[in-house]
């Protein structure tokens, strides 16, 4: 188990190297520079600016310099926001995205999993069919349709929540709801399917045969084992939610890292693009690692060597 974790952590090195080099090459292949303006800058100024940000170095040198900075957790200066470093931007914007993603994920888990269990326990009843149709709706409505809808109902008509932007806890509700719905539905569906599969296992029959109460059978014996496929999607779902926050940040004008990413691409703000991509890549890799570890904890039959 320990050597497995070490190997998986070492595995992030090639991932980060390749993700960073693809991103680096791709963003430098996009025409235009951070200093492209409606009115062209005088050549001398342009040249000085490029020299200041080392954009006149050969690409391979820029890449090596960047990765060297990355190792020291120094992500360099932002080109578009002259007075801020990328570290400043990450420090201010990442918590926003992380909060939004965290709340959305929590909501999806706390609502989705019980909904799935309930559906499975009441299989083929009205409750089951009803919640599965709702879950299907949840999977089917994209954030760009759901977000404006929620704003219209709860912010413009009922005036319960603010329309957009960020600041107070009530600002979190609508975007978190928008972000979590699809995953809530996915959790409900997978939990239900997995419960239904587990209750046919023989150890459930055995648990019943020894006279355990139905609720104990369902929760202690069935639910625990049914959680295994749920954890497999929970890790990637968390990574997806945090990445998907980018969509919701656009709709609700939330100053998170995703909104900065889209802006930075427009500004050709290379250091911000790199840092954001690497940050998200790290989240994804980390989540996949957590999934593998949680497997072993939930299912004693799985052992890593």
């Amino acid at each position: 188990m320990f050597s497995f974790i070490v190997r998986r952590i070492l595995w992030t090195i090639p991932v980060i190297l390749i993700v960073s080099s693809i991103t680096f090459l791709l963003m430098h292949s996009v025409p235009g520079s951070p200093f492209t303006r409606e009115r062209a800058l005088p050549a001398a100024i342009q040249k000085n600016l490029e020299a200041k940000y080392h954009l006149d170095d050969p690409l391979w040198k820029q890449y090596i310099d960047y990765m060297y900075g990355f190792l020291r957790l120094d992500f360099g200066p932002s080109i578009a926001y002259r007075s801020r470093t990328v570290n400043d931007i990450l420090a201010q914007q990442w918590p926003v995205t992380a909060t939004l993603g965290g709340v959305a994920f929590l909501f999806a888990v706390v609502m989705g999993i019980p909904l799935g269990v309930l559906s499975a326990v009441k299989q083929n009843t009205l409750i089951d069919h009803g919640s599965m149709v709702v879950a299907m709706l949840g999977v089917s409505i994209p954030a760009i349709a759901l977000g404006p809808f929620l704003i219209w109902i709860f912010a413009l008509k009922l005036k319960w929540f603010p329309v957009a932007t960020w600041g107070s806890p009530s600002h979190i509700v609508l975007p978190a709801l928008t972000l979590s719905t699809a995953y809530l539905a996915r959790f409900a569906r997978i939990t239900r399917a997995s419960m239904l599969q587990v209750v046919r296992e023989e150890y459930i029959l055995a648990a019943r045969a020894k006279g355990l109460r139905e609720i104990v059978v369902n929760l202690r014996h069935a639910f625990r084992n049914a959680l295994i496929p749920v954890t497999t999607i929970a890790g990637p779902a968390f990574a997806d939610i945090v990445t998907g926050s980018l969509v919701v940040e656009q709709i609700f004008a939330i100053p998170g890292i995703g909104k900065y990413y889209v802006q930075s691409i427009g500004n050709r703000d290379y250091p911000v693009i790199m840092a954001t991509t690497l940050l998200f890549a790290l989240v994804i890799v980390l989540m996949n690692l957590l999934v593998d570890i949680s497997y072993a904890m939930l299912d004693p039959r799985i052992r890593y060597s």
Binding site: T23, S140, I141, P142, A145, P148, A193, I265, F280
Partner: protein, 323 residues
């Protein structure tokens, strides 16, 4: 309540089904009994019809508006109202079905082609090749897809599309192709290049298992060439499940297109994409909610239909699944 005594619907049917039926017909029968899937299928057929015949079905032009009608509320002449340029919303929705369905289907086919080729080669050659190719897939899995597709779209758009006069050579050809498709070509490419990983893994796994079956071994024993084994024996066996798996991905691709067009990296205006209609309507939502309502409904109903049909097909072909 006792679980183990309870039969599920699919259990009943396996008991009832006469053994003479073929697997496909049996699955079709199960599919037809699934009301959600049938409803989804009908909606999809209507949508496909609307997309193909949009020129005849749509009452107005999708790109030319009457500026006097801007933001017109729904009336008898314009049942869904008009947008900020006075264009008929219903007509734009109908033409928009083309964009969404094209993104879903062509995007799926592009990703499918890349994924199947990659997985087939990896599984068929095995050994070091397989190991190397699958490590590539593992690494690419660490890539935040949404970020990559945005970066790719910016790269495509500013390297090829906006260059004004189309250049010569490949760049000019691609640029013209994309322009003639209203910006769709690069969306297909973007979806294809970012969404083939799962397919590659799936096909590779199936290829590995088919490669070791007895009929492939016998084919090899009578001296069949590797190419023939690959295309006549392995590919046909891998293709079926791969197609079903890919069809389940279509709603995701439709969402990609809608989102990209929403943030302005998708189709070129005035091409009517539902995502773009949403973003334009969103700006005027406070006073003209119908501009958001209809495109939002259109895309949700489409995805709903795809998901229901997809679920039904999967259940029909795999009666043990109880999802």
């Amino acid at each position: 309540m006792a679980f183990h005594t309870k039969k599920t619907r699919s259990d009943d049917e396996t008991v009832k089904a006469p053994p003479s039926r073929s697997l496909t017909r049996d699955a079709m029968r199960r599919l037809m009994k699934n009301r959600g899937a049938v409803a989804g299928g009908i909606i999809l057929l209507l949508l496909i019809f609307a997309a193909i015949f949009a020129d005849f079905v749509a009452p107005y032009s999708a790109t030319e508006g009457d500026i006097l009608n801007n933001y017109a509320a729904p009336t008898a002449a314009h049942p869904f109202g008009c947008d900020f340029m006075g264009r008929d919303v219903l007509s734009r929705l109908l033409f928009g079905a083309r964009i969404s369905l094209a993104a879903g289907f062509v995007g799926a086919i592009t990703a499918f082609a890349i994924g199947v080729t990659f997985g087939l080669i990896s599984g068929f050659f095995g050994g070091k090749t397989d190991n190397f190719m699958m490590r590539i897939v593992d690494i690419m899995y660490g890539f935040p897809t949404l970020l990559l597709i945005i970066l790719l779209m910016v790269f495509f758009k500013s390297s090829f599309s906006v260059s004004g006069v189309a250049g010569a050579g490949l760049r000019g050809v691609l640029s013209n192709l994309d322009r003639s498709m209203g910006g769709m070509f690069f969306i297909f490419l973007g979806i294809g290049l970012t969404s083939w990983l799962g397919m590659a893994r799936l096909v590779r796994g199936m290829t590995l298992s088919v490669r070791n079956t007895e009929y492939v071994e016998s084919a090899r024993a009578i001296g069949t060439s590797r190419t023939r084994i690959l295309f006549r024996h392995i590919l046909p066996n891998v293709l079926g499940p791969a197609i079903v798996a890919q069809a389940l991905q279509i709603p995701g691709f439709i969402q990609y297109e809608a989102f990209l067009s929403f943030i302005g990296l998708g189709v070129n205006p005035p091409t009517p994409s539902w995502g773009m209609m949403l973003s334009q309507g969103y700006l005027a939502m406070r006073s003209h909610f119908h501009l958001v309502l209809w495109p939002a409904l259109a895309i949700s109903i489409t995805l709903f239909a795809f998901n229901f049909l997809g679920d039904g097909v999967r259940d029909a072909f795999d009666p043990r699944q109880t999802r």
